[in-house]
Amino acid sequence: MMQGIPIRVAVIFEPGKKAMPVWFQLNRRQHKVLETTYFWKDKVGETPHFHYAVTDGEALYELIFSPVDQSWTLYRQQTE
């Protein structure tokens, strides 16, 4: 089972396009998403998970969006 930290994410939802994270909040700091470097989907049982690899220019983050409960989690963080 995937574990992650629940986080606040500002997202642009556009018809016909995948949701695009714009910024997220971590440790009371707002991180602006400079680039979504990769996107992929998987499933845990019947629950789909949308993975976004994003960078704020300082580090690489893997954010997961669960459309079932509309929640975002930070799954991984890697300093570049």
Partner: protein
């Protein structure tokens, strides 16, 4: 009408995906490895290949070739998702798509050309552009009148190449081509051909078939055809593939095991993985096999047992595996375990006449339903609770985007 076959090969697939994911890795020598401590290099980036880093090398061997090699633990689900999406794009151009491996496929576009696309190069450029746009990845494409030549053409320009071998060019291309460049001719066959004075495909194509048949048996004729660039094998889409002959899983253990109880824990897990996949696709098997590789890596053991009836319940598979294990004396600690169910019967779902068997099947069905809903190993045999690694962690060469070969990897 000559066929038009396209071969697509994703360039350094896993490594390229990781370089796209992490911009800091772009342009650098990286190697993708597994999460297990005893992993090997599964893919090296082109930058690493320049130093001689190759797939299958140990981390130590890779680092010896390139001191600055960056190791990245692979994310299999990222690769299976990307591969499935790319295969789905291919289906936009023809229903005849044969997935050869997670990063290679053949497309028969003969009939796509007549009405929709004027030239196969147009399909190739469209696919390249879509893959680049969606994932930032490059691929090498070969176009030719058959699969053998399409794969050969694809290998000619890497990375990001596009090579066309037209029917009228085949004999010219083959004349001086080394035989080892053909898919299917390995080092051993090459050496045996060299002994006969055959070094190029031109020489192979002209060599008397009778002698090739004497030396190589039934493949002698096939070799002669390959030398001439002839290959009649069709592009076989997933729905027309032969039914799988077995369902199996194996795992390299984090540390060598000698204790029977420790080995049994992993055999129960493998039996559950095999049983679950067999039940998901309504197959059952009569033969259960156990495969063991020992600590020295060189010695291995395999034994099978054929039962009176077809089974797909995990505990029945487990019991058969235990009886195989107990019939041998282990000469060394165990490094790798594999369980396989073969002699398969398809589309069988028969409730037993016996109450206990029926209840067991219903319990397994309930467990499968829960695991389908909440994820593999959400509910599991108590004996598996302490196993650190659960599920498949390696993408098998037989992996396919759909059907029984679509193993969910961690």
């Amino acid at each position: 009408m000559p066929r038009v076959i396209i071969h697509i090969d994703m360039n350094a697939f896993f490594a390229s995906v990781e370089q796209q994911t992490n911009p800091a890795l772009r342009g650098k020598p990286i190697a993708v490895i597994g999460s297990n401590g005893r992993t090997v290099i599964t893919t090296a980036s082109y930058e690493a290949r320049k130093y001689g880093v190759k797939t299958g090398m140990t981390i130590w061997e890779g680092k010896k070739q390139c001191r600055d090699l960056i190791l990245v633990v692979g994310d299999n689900r990222k690769y299976t998702y990307t591969s499935s999406r790319i295969v789905s794009m291919m289906h936009d151009y023809t229903p005849l798509v044969e997935v050869y491996s997670i990063d290679e496929a053949f497309l028969d576009v003969t009939y796509s050309l007549r009405y929709i696309y004027n030239a196969p190069e147009r399909i190739a450029y469209l696919l390249k552009a879509r893959i680049k746009e969606s994932f930032g990845l490059t691929c090498s494409i070969g176009i030719a009148p058959n699969k053998l030549l399409a794969k050969l053409a694809g290998e000619m320009r890497k990375p990001d190449g596009l090579t066309v071998i037209r029917p009228e060019d085949v004999s010219r291309v083959m004349e001086n081509l080394p035989v080892k460049d053909l898919c299917g001719i390995g080092g051993r066959t090459e050496r045996r051909l060299n002994v006969l004075g055959i070094y190029t495909c031109g020489q192979l194509g002209r060599f008397p078939v009778k002698i090739l048949r004497e030396k190589f048996g039934i493949i002698g004729e096939r070799l002669a055809q390959m030398g001439k660039g002839i290959d009649d094998s069709p592009v076989v889409p997933a729905e027309e593939e032969n039914e799988v002959k077995s369902v199996g899983h194996s795992m390299t253990l984090r540390q060598d095991l000698s204790d029977r109880d420790d080995i049994l824990k992993y055999l129960l897990q493998l039996s559950e993985m095999v049983g679950r996949r067999a039940r998901r696709y309504s197959v059952s098997g009569k033969t259960v096999s156990l495969y063991i590789r020992f600590a020295d890596y060189l010695t291995s053991f395999g034994k099978q047992k054929t039962l009176q009836r077809h089974i797909n319940q995990s505990d029945d598979i487990y019991r058969a595996v235990i009886s195989i294990l107990d019939s041998v004396e282990l000469s060394q600690p165990v490094r790798l375990l594999g369980v396989r169910l073969s002699n398969l019967n398809y589309h069988t779902e028969q409730l037993s006449l016996f109450e206990e068997e029926r209840r067991k099947a219903l319990v397994a069905k309930a467990m499968d339903t829960i695991n389908d809903k909440f994820g593999d190993f959400s509910i599991l045999f108590a004996g598996l609770l302490k196993n650190e690694e659960k599920g498949s962690r390696v993408i098998s060469p037989a992996w396919r985007p759909q059907g029984i070969r679509n193993v969910h990897v961690q």
